[in-house]
């Protein structure tokens, strides 16, 4: 799976959680929580949606790596090569 495909998948999951957000304006290197009005419950729903989409487990301790879109893509890409 290419980075672009992973990125699209993550954005699809994000669109389920924050349907009103303009995802094209997200800056990939900045924290998602600072750009979107999301709280811990949204974040959990987001991680669950990504988990379902890519079928990878995401331990709670890894959440800090998912703070930005770039970080999230890296994390999924690495997890996929481990599979």
């Amino acid at each position: 799976m290419t980075r672009d495909e992973i990125r699209d998948g993550i954005l699809r999951a994000l669109a389920q959680i924050a349907p009103e957000a303009d995802l094209s304006r997200i800056k990939p290197h900045l924290r998602l929580r600072d750009q979107l009005d999301i709280d811990s419950m949204d974040l959990l729903n987001f991680v669950i949606a990504v988990h379902k989409q890519f079928n990878i487990d995401i331990p709670e301790a890894d959440y800090p790596q998912l703070a930005t879109l770039d970080g999230f893509v890296d994390y999924i890409a690495k997890a996929q090569t481990r599979k």
């Binding site: 959680i17 924050a18 009005d37 949204d42 729903n45 669950i48 988990h51 709670e60």
Partner: protein
Amino acid sequence: MAEFVMPQLGADMSAGKLIQWRKNVGDRVQRGDIIADVETEKADIEVEVFSTGVIEKVLIQPGQKVPVGTIMAIIREEGKPAHAEIPEVPALSPEAAPPPRVPVRAVAPPTAPGMARIHISPVAKKLAADLGVDPASVSGTGPGGRITLEDVQRAAQAQAAKAAPPEELDRAARMRQVIGAAMARSKREIPHYYLSTTIDMSRALAWLASENLKHSVEDRLVYGVLLVKAVALALREFPELNGLFVGGNAVPKPDIHVGVAISLRGGGLVAPALHKTDQQSLGELMKSFRDLVQRARAGSLRSSELSDPTITVTSLGEQGVEAVFGVIYPPQVALVGFGKIVDRPWASEGQITVRSAVTATLSGDHRVSDGHRGGLFLAAIERLLQEPSRL
């Protein structure tokens, strides 16, 4: 025969607009079925029905906005005769209003001495009373100036149109108005008292972290669920805080439905119920909570979730404040607030250690409880949070 009326979904709702019927005339419905979608200032609501039977008649069409209490459909309940005293209620469509008809069983209503006699049928009179319309202010279009059901409904609509925020405001502005009206009523009518205590959360958080290690992401818990469950269990010991204040009387409720305040993107908030909060396991509660937050923010809630809460819990912790002293949502009689969890120096048994702590507050209605009981209630929440595995 049962009437399906526009429900009152919280103190801040005066009218609702029918988006669509989910059922048609002739369809069987069961108590609890979703029968219609209704738009309010806060959300689009899936409205549940309270009777079991067959839909006999539909009185309101999609697109119509009607006041709370307006009869929207007639349901023939099981085991009861068909067509029993069904009033002829023309649908309110301005362009195609059928000629008004007089109900067959029209009986002259009793009139007070000295008052002008008002020609109104008993059904129309009952509807007027239900909708808060003064029959003297309604001009009748029936034979001899008799006030028909349609006249009453039209008058109620006009009243609601006057009272309701103007349509040209966007939803956020309308929501601000209805929240403002409900909170103004709360501050006008409810003599609030406020209490605050700081609770050691170290044990609860340590237990939560070890539990979450065992579970896949879908079954993980957030600490907010522990707080809500602790409140629900504490309410069993303080039933007077779980209920409503209606018509000058405290009405404790047997079931504990904690309403959780959920902020909406773009402003405003809703506080829908987690049904039977005290009876759900933490895992079940977490799933219901997640689902509720997602649906609230997508603007899709069920009517019972908005009409059932018996207390509200608000947690502003994530916005970075340490304490919140909330305004009670009428007709409820209490509100519990939680701030953010912070590390604090904590003196215990002659030692100072660092503990994670949260400030819990209670806003109580002095007509129903006092600070002594309120304080014991907060102490019970604190005690319950020290044994998280038993929540």
